[in-house]
């Protein structure tokens, strides 16, 4: 299992890059110009994230440095122990369904603090990468067509977020633990 997953990890990106380039070239896409055109769009995306990152980084740094985080974790400890979720990951798990950029800031903070190759760093990367922002998706998709009553969609979204976090913990422990 470990070998398989790490092999996929190692090869996924090189294979994808060469496949896309060769396939595009074969389809007569001007690969270089098209790349430049797409990459330009990256600047807009990055600028859009910047204010979110600053807002959340300040809030999280405050929350951690002030001791408020320790207080919250003490309250949640029995539940976390039951689910085997490391307490360092809690702020990320709480914010992941609510804000994509907010949770990205927390994941970055965890990686900066514990190192990208620590268990916490790997877990933060996997959690952040493996689910989407439920609240955002619901707001945009239902908002676009004027749905007021979302039926059970929110419940499904939030429960799957929790499932995604638990799955991430299990997979990361199995592979790296």
């Amino acid at each position: 299992m470990y070998q398989w997953v790490s092999l996929v990890s190692l090869w996924a990106i090189p294979v994808m890059i060469s496949f896309i380039l060769v396939y595009g070239w074969q389809k007569k896409v001007p690969v270089y110009e098209t790349f430049i055109e797409g990459a330009k769009g990256g600047l807009g995306t990055t600028i859009k994230i910047l204010p979110h990152l600053i807002a959340m980084m300040v809030a999280i740094t405050l929350f951690r440095e002030s001791g408020a985080l320790d207080l919250l974790l003490q309250i949640l400890e029995p539940l976390l122990r039951a689910l085997h979720i490391p307490k360092e990951i809690v702020p990320l798990a709480l914010l992941r369904p609510l804000s994509g950029t907010g949770s990205l800031a927390i994941a970055t903070d965890l990686i900066a603090q514990y190192g990208p190759d620590s268990l916490i760093g790997r877990l933060a990367s996997t959690i952040q990468g493996s689910t989407d922002t439920t609240l955002y998706v619901l707001t945009v998709y239902f908002g676009a067509v004027g749905i007021r009553n979302g039926a059970y969609a929110l419940k499904v979204g939030l429960w799957s977020d929790l499932a995604g976090i638990v799955f991430s913990v299990i997979v990361v422990y199995l592979i790296f633990g």
Partner: protein, 196 residues
């Protein structure tokens, strides 16, 4: 919702710091946090730009349509309420394909088109139809092949192997999506029984 969380994080921190008498840390943390935000953002730009450039090539080469074709058989099973050949199917397929490729910017417009088509089939225009709920379940637990942003951040902090989380992300997001679809199916059957 986010407004409240942000407010709560900051105000509760200041209150706790006041109680503990650690106010000097607050002043430091504000500027340290803001500076970190900027540093991280500029580190991200490199990889986001590269990935978006590459994905534009994939889009223009028609890889999206190709993937959509490959996924067609699955969609009939996931969306039993949508008639075969309805335009909604095409948009749903493009949406799922774009998600798989990590093309968030392309996935959302496709998803919204799919929602419009599903709304035409919806008898109650104010309430979500089961097919809409399923589409949202797929999108909130989106399967990810390449978590580009996280790889970029790991690189920036000097990871020895920044892509080692591709496999774990794939397995975990696959499991979460499967779970979301099962849960969606269960709620759908239950809400139908409640109506009878």
């Amino acid at each position: 919702m986010l407004n409240l969380i942000w407010l709560f994080l900051i105000v509760s921190s200041i209150v706790v710091a006041a109680i503990n008498g650690r106010m000097e840390l607050i002043n430091q943390a504000v500027f340290e946090g803001a500076k970190n935000g900027v540093t991280v953002c500029f580190g991200l730009f490199s990889v986001i730009a590269f990935w978006m450039g590459l994905m534009r090539i994939a889009e223009k080469a028609g890889l999206l349509q190709l993937l959509a074709k490959a996924l067609t058989p699955i969609v009939g099973w996931i969306f039993p309420d949508v008639p075969k050949g309805h335009p909604a199917i095409g948009y749903i397929l493009s949406n799922i394909s774009a998600n798989l490729l990590g093309l968030g910017n392309a996935a959302t417009p496709m998803g919204l088109k799919a929602m419009e088509e599903l709304q035409k089939l919806n008898p109650d225009k104010q309430a979500a139809s089961p097919a809409m709920c399923t589409l949202l379940a797929i999108n909130t637990a989106s399967i990810t092949l390449i978590p580009t942003t996280m790889i970029a951040i790991r690189m920036q902090y000097g990871s020895a192997n920044s892509v080692e989380i591709v496999g774990t992300t794939l397995v975990s997001s696959f499991a979460a999506t499967f779970f979301a679809l099962l849960l969606d199916r269960w709620y759908r059957i239950r809400s139908r029984q409640l109506r009878k």
